[in-house]
């Protein structure tokens, strides 16, 4: 590629055909070529994806005597932190998803509107959080919400508050939940937005023009044309987002310290502080089970006709 970086099809004159190598490659590149091409990826994923999963189940469900056991699961469930972690994770999910979809749909519709000037710039800005880590987002919002942080600084300088308000009160689960919700909405709406914009671009202009011609206002067009046609994208975004919500971790730690806990943070604590990989694996298994069940529920709730399916 160093000497041949042209993007046009090279002329016949410049192409040499070494016979022997060609033959060899033809045999190699015969019917089995696609299998040779996917083989490294399959082997890698078998070794570093499938095998660890099997081991995780071993860790979670096999006892010291080598027999199956529910001891580790029982230890997990009986732990004082368990109900709080489960509740916080589920609450977060239930609150975040509708908000994020509303925000993402608004962003997507605006970015997709031909009347908006500077669409490229807006798309870039809205997409920035896509590459921002959970930890960075957590720290950013900590800088805003911490007692001597930027929100209180702004309020004070605007004369709206005399004493700094404690936004991240470790005794108030509701306040911590609200802070994590804001940070997560800020960070992870862009993923949904991108999927929705891609879906919007697939809607033929004629449909919208026809709807407008028949007197449908903007809201009716969204409800009757855009949303139904976006259903496959919404389904995919919903699955992605739900699965990721079960894995929320660093945002919670950065924002709340140990004030609130979630399932992944508990798995982390059991693995690193308590050094019990079995119970940590039980948490991992629970997170996986929740992911799978919710994916099935979403697929069932948003069943789409075969020809519209994306996966």
């Amino acid at each position: 590629m160093t000497e041949q970086s042209t993007t046009t099809v090279p002329g016949g004159a410049g192409v040499r055909r070494p016979r022997g190598r060609d033959q060899l490659r033809a045999t190699l590149g015969g019917r089995n070529l696609p299998y040779w091409l996917v083989l490294p990826a399959i082997l890698y994923l078998a070794l570093f994806f499938a095998w660890p999963m099997v081991q995780a189940f071993g860790l979670a469900f096999v006892g010291e005597d080598g027999g199956l056991t529910l001891d580790h699961v029982r230890t997990m469930v009986d732990d004082v932190a368990f109900p709080g972690a489960l509740r916080f994770t589920l609450l977060l999910l239930v609150i975040i998803i509708p908000i994020e979809f509303a925000v993402a749909l608004t962003m997507a519709l605006m970015v997709n509107s031909p009347r908006l000037r500077g669409r490229g710039l807006f798309l870039y800005i809205y997409a920035i959080p896509l590459a921002v880590s959970e930890l960075a987002a957590g720290i950013v919002w900590f800088a805003i919400f911490t007692q001597q942080g930027y929100l209180n600084s702004a309020l004070q300088q605007l004369g709206l508050a005399d004493v700094p308000f404690i936004w991240l009160d470790p005794r108030s689960t509701e306040q911590l939940l609200l802070a994590v919700v804001l940070a997560e909405v800020w960070r992870s709406t862009s993923l949904i937005m991108i999927i929705l914009v891609a879906g919007l671009q697939g809607i033929p202009r004629d449909y919208l023009e026809a709807a407008e011609l028949f007197g449908a206002g903007p809201l009716t067009r969204v409800r009757k044309v855009i949303l139904p046609m976006l259903k496959p994208s919404i389904q995919v975004a919903l699955i992605f987002r739900t699965i990721l919500a079960f894995q929320v971790f660093a945002t919670v730690i950065a924002l709340t310290g140990r004030g609130a806990t979630v399932l992944t943070a508990e798995a982390y604590r059991w693995q690193t502080d308590i050094r019990d990989a079995n119970v940590a694996a039980a948490y991992a298994g629970l997170i996986l089970a929740l992911s799978i069940v919710s994916t099935m529920v979403i697929l069932r709730l948003t069943r789409t006709p075969r020809e519209q399916r994306m996966i």
Partner: protein, 272 residues
């Protein structure tokens, strides 16, 4: 109200809404940037100046803190190694998915897509146990293996969609003109695919740069930057936290700008 003025009002509302949303994204980014480039005195003061006098002292303090520079170096090394490994292993598979109809192709695609359903937790915990057994715990090498497992499904799907976007006829034309499949790919397809592949590579890089859970579990003394910041978070002061948050976030601004034309190839069509 006449139709025209109604339309104008809608356009104004649209722009106002778009700007409002942009501020929602940008203000927090401004806050952490301002915080990281305030002097330590300003960081400890209250109320903090909203427009600080620019000082690099806080960043210098962070970079000088124990373990930060080695962690930064390790993060960069792991991210580039992950990028290389994932692209080398993933691109051929992506090409195969885009170009060939072979038995098992659909199963392969569905299993690749479904790996995204598996939480990182369930990989990291058993791998931590395995890596100890093989003596690669607490190493950049082990973490690279883990990050590649995370990034690989993404790389396969994205490169597949990049190749699918390049007309097969160009390749066939090259082959009738005397190229075999390999030289056709090398001389015709790769140059066209390069920008898309570069975008995929850059995003693979950021997946590794951002990853914190597995990094904190698989390393102890040889931490990457996110792991180092996470662990030090509770015992460190505001200057450390703000500077660390900014440094972790900063690549995102560049990365998204560079790949902005490929966002839909990367995410929008990944599910297809």
């Amino acid at each position: 109200m006449s139709g025209e003025s109604l339309a104008r009002m809608r356009t104004v509302l649209l722009h106002a809404g778009a700007v409002l949303m942009a501020l929602w994204i940008l203000i927090p980014i401004y806050v952490i940037t301002a915080a990281a480039f305030s002097s330590p005195e300003a960081v400890f003061s209250f109320p903090k100046p909203l427009v600080p006098e620019i000082s690099t002292e806080t960043m210098e303090f962070f970079l000088g803190a124990t373990g930060v520079l080695p962690a930064l170096r390790r993060s960069v090394v792991v991210a580039f190694s992950t990028l290389a490994l994932a692209i080398v292993i993933g691109t051929p598979a992506g090409y195969a998915l885009a170009r060939f109809r072979f038995r098992g192709a659909d199963t392969f695609r569905v299993s690749i897509v479904s790996t995204r359903a598996f939480p990182i937790v369930i990989l990291a915990i058993p791998l931590a146990v395995t890596f100890i057994r093989f003596g690669i715990d607490d190493s950049s090498f082990g973490l690279t293996l883990m990050h590649t497992a995370l990034a690989l499904p993404f790389t396969v799907l994205v490169t597949s969609s990049v190749f699918a976007g390049i007309s097969e006829e160009l390749e066939e034309a090259a082959m009738t003109l005397g190229c075999n499949r390999f030289s056709a790919v090398r001389r015709v397809v790769l140059p066209l695919a390069l920008p898309g592949l570069a975008a995929a590579a850059i995003f693979t890089w950021i997946i590794s740069w951002n990853e914190v859970f597995a990094a904190s579990i698989l390393t102890l003394r040889n931490r990457t930057l996110p792991a180092q910041v996470l662990v030090a978070l509770t015992q460190s002061g505001l200057p450390f936290q703000f500077a660390g948050g900014f440094l972790l976030l900063a690549p995102a601004l560049v990365v998204v700008f560079v790949i902005r034309k490929y966002l839909f190839d990367l995410w929008g069509r990944v599910a297809r």
